[in-house]
């Protein structure tokens, strides 16, 4: 709960605008900031994407290597997701092992990918029980201006979709594109004094009461959700966020082809 302190003036300003149905940067309540997605940004990664969401800047990479499968899934590849809130990205991020914020971020990104069955993990089995492909998704936040959940998720999806399994390097035949089956999209909203705002900036996050991330698939079905912060949401607010996520997901999905 490393919620940074904010000046009362800034807080009042956000509240006052919201009471008139406006946001500080002039966006509509359900409008995302400008997004650019640049894949294959890092050559040393099997897949990578740099995502800029307004002033938020995230770099996601995929590395693959061979390894042993888990005992309870002997014929499926392994997915592992990690997120690093490096101190380069914000004066409030500290060096050291992942804290609760980066762990939550990594786990929410991981669940969205895993539960949407985006990656065909069964196609990542080399020899059942013995050898499978391990797929590491590493999220690095480079510049932090709010809504890390969506920037990171978009980056992870784009990086995975651009990833090449380095079979040749490991003597396992020819390289092939990482087999994916769907393109999940996450949308995050905050509730501030009963207003719902999509894609919050850092300043909006700081004054937010509650946060909800909703991950949907091509059918608009729910694949993952995560509520955060110390405030509450009403059921109708949750429904509104879900429906908005379904709608916006269609647009955002185009960004990652």
């Amino acid at each position: 709960m490393a919620r940074a302190i904010m000046s009362d003036i800034k807080r009042d300003h956000i509240h006052k605008l919201l009471s008139k149905g406006k946001r500080v940067d002039g966006r509509n309540w359900d409008e995302f900031r400008q997004i650019t997605v640049e894949t294959k940004y890092v050559e040393s990664a099997e897949g990578s994407a740099r995502v800029r969401l307004g002033n938020t800047d995230v770099l996601v990479g995929v590395k693959m290597q061979t390894g042993t499968p888990f005992e309870d899934t002997p014929d499926r590849g392994v997915l592992a997701t990690n997120a690093e809130l490096i101190p380069l990205a914000s004066p409030t991020f500290e060096a050291g092992p992942p804290d609760e914020d980066s762990i939550e971020l990594a786990r929410v990104v991981d669940r969205g990918i895993r539960e949407s069955e985006m990656i065909d993990l069964s196609a990542l089995c080399i020899t059942p029980k013995e050898e499978v492909w391990m797929c590491f998704v590493d999220v690095y936040v480079l510049d932090y201006d709010g809504n890390l959940f969506d920037a990171s998720f978009l980056g992870a999806v784009a990086a995975l979709k651009s990833a090449i399994v380095p079979a040749a390097t490991f003597g396992k035949g020819e390289n092939f594109p990482l087999p994916t089956k769907s393109t999940p999209i996450s949308c995050t909203a905050v509730q501030i004094e009963n207003s719902i705002l999509l894609d919050p900036t850092l300043d909006e996050e700081k004054v937010a009461d509650a946060r909800l991330t909703v991950t949907t698939d091509e059918n608009g079905d729910l694949r993952a959700m995560q509520k955060g912060l110390e405030g509450s949401l009403k059921l109708e607010q949750v429904r509104k966020i879900i429906e908005t996520s379904q709608r916006l997901g269609k647009e955002l999905r185009k960004l990652v082809g």
Partner: protein, 254 residues
Amino acid sequence: MEGKMIDENGLRIDGRKVDELRPIKIEAGVLKRADGSAYVEWGKNKVLAAVYGPRECHPRHLQDPSKALVQCKYNMIAFSVSDRKRPGPDRRSVEISKIISEALEYVVFTEYFPRTSVDVYIEILQANAGTRCAGLTAASVALADAGIPMKDMIPSVAVGKIDDQVVLDLCKEEDNYGQADLPIAVVPRTGDILLMQMDGHMTLDEFNKAMEYGFGACEKIYQLQKDALKRRYAVEDVEGLEEEAPREQQDMEG
């Protein structure tokens, strides 16, 4: 997803109906050293919660001059699961601790105790699916048992999906083959949703059904929480808590 988990009579492997809770037993004030405590037995889950505080906040740089911090640590003990779990926090328990802390912070009148910490410890002694909900349910009883001023109690439950059907409160066998898991925490009086997570696959219709089951179950669990406190204390105390809460809540938001 081998075999059917729900039989032709609509009954589940342990004989429950789709919207039926496992047996739940709540006991307040079970530990001597803690300022407040609670024990919850929920199906085969066994959960202990303890509260210390408000007390000096450690580490100091986390102190908030305007309010108390609610710091929850959720932990599974080594032999609470089939494969021994190495002691110490893993990523899953760090995440659960965070979202439970956030939910609890909503109901505690933290502004009464600036610079302090209210520390909540949840120990899962035996795990059988739904431990975060059982833990949060126990924790809010423990907070009340500690006499911490609170807006309300928080009941929590998970709704799931098996055999393409929405069902309440999955047990471990169901969870292993489940298609979705959706833990929530809802304050019945206000409808405030304080915890919500979901993974798996659910349509919007299924989500709505899940909310129907979940909200209903939270009311039942809430009653069990109040009963536990009543058994521990004189009736008027608990009523007093209820009377007082809404007023303070308005103050807060006013």
